[in-house]
């Protein structure tokens, strides 16, 4: 599917494999036009400040700084940042902490591709 989207996304995950999978989902659904990547929480915050993406997908469990720490740092920089948490751990306390810290939504690994696309679309459209 070709895209007419002008949305810039930052994909944050320490697993290059998961970044590829997410890229494939976002591109095949025509959701984004530019994709940036980061492999840990510290690089994520730096990339956010540099590229100012419209939306961020943020893995939770990462080296250096985890996804919750990076989420909090980005929200401090831009309280209107649109961040979707990506987690294989659906423990309530982790998800609740992320939402409380400003995450707009979350998706669970392994991915349901249509659910990822739906959540992304919803968050992209949100104010």
């Amino acid at each position: 599917m070709s895209t007419t989207s002008t949305v810039k996304v930052l994909i944050v995950d320490d697993a290059s494999f998961m970044r590829v999978v997410l890229k494939d989902i976002l591109v095949s659904h025509g959701l984004v036009s530019q994709i940036y990547e980061a492999g840990d929480g510290i690089a994520a915050v730096e990339a956010y400040k540099q590229f100012k993406p419209d939306i961020v997908t943020m893995d939770v469990n990462m080296p250096k700084a985890d996804g919750i720490q990076a989420l909090k740092a980005i929200m401090q920089f831009n309280p209107r940042a649109k961040i979707i948490m990506v987690t294989s751990v659906e423990q309530k306390h982790i998800v609740q902490d992320a939402i409380k810290s400003g995450a707009r939504d979350y998706v669970i690994k392994p991915f349901d591709r249509s659910n990822v696309a739906m959540v992304m679309s919803k968050v992209i459209r949100s104010k």
């Binding site: 320490d14 697993a15 494999f17 469990n61 294989s88 423990q91 690994k109 392994p110």
Partner: protein
Amino acid sequence: MEILSTSNDLQKLNSVLDSFIVQKTIPSLRSILEEPITHHLRNTQEIPLINLDLIISNLEEMNIMSAVYIKCVGDIHMGVLLYLPEEESKTLAAKLLGKPISSELAGIATSSISEIGNILTASLINAISIDMGYKICSSVPGYAVEFFRTLLEAVVSDFGNEFDTLVVSNVELHGVNSGIGIHILLIQDPSEVKKLVI
């Protein structure tokens, strides 16, 4: 050297872990591999540290394994070692990436194997957390290709056991169509057993 767990406790633990694997781990792997999965929880036993040979079969002894290790901490302390023969891990990576792996596993191929370990471990701790209310955090996955004995010794050393024994559960998962077999060792302190068999 004292064995701390009763056979009844170990049997119960085996049964509890089996139910968690059926509830969460198998559906996760089925979703990733897009094929039916069979499983077999071989056994749960308490093993003296000086006798790790008890969990090394002849086949495993001779094979170089591709392995992912994840340490879980919090209310439950557990080590998870996912492993499969190196050649079979290439088949798994090829399936995940949708292209053949001709040479050594590297880059995105090793990342895909690590992520399988990450997701399957998370599925298990999700099941424990949801069912028993424990808060558990998992480490970033560590990936290695080594002889199984070397892997096991490294894992036991890293696990940081306070006792002279370990409780080890041995799980096998098989993709029915692809024939891919994934082994998982769940390692716990004997003092942790009671937390899961309440």
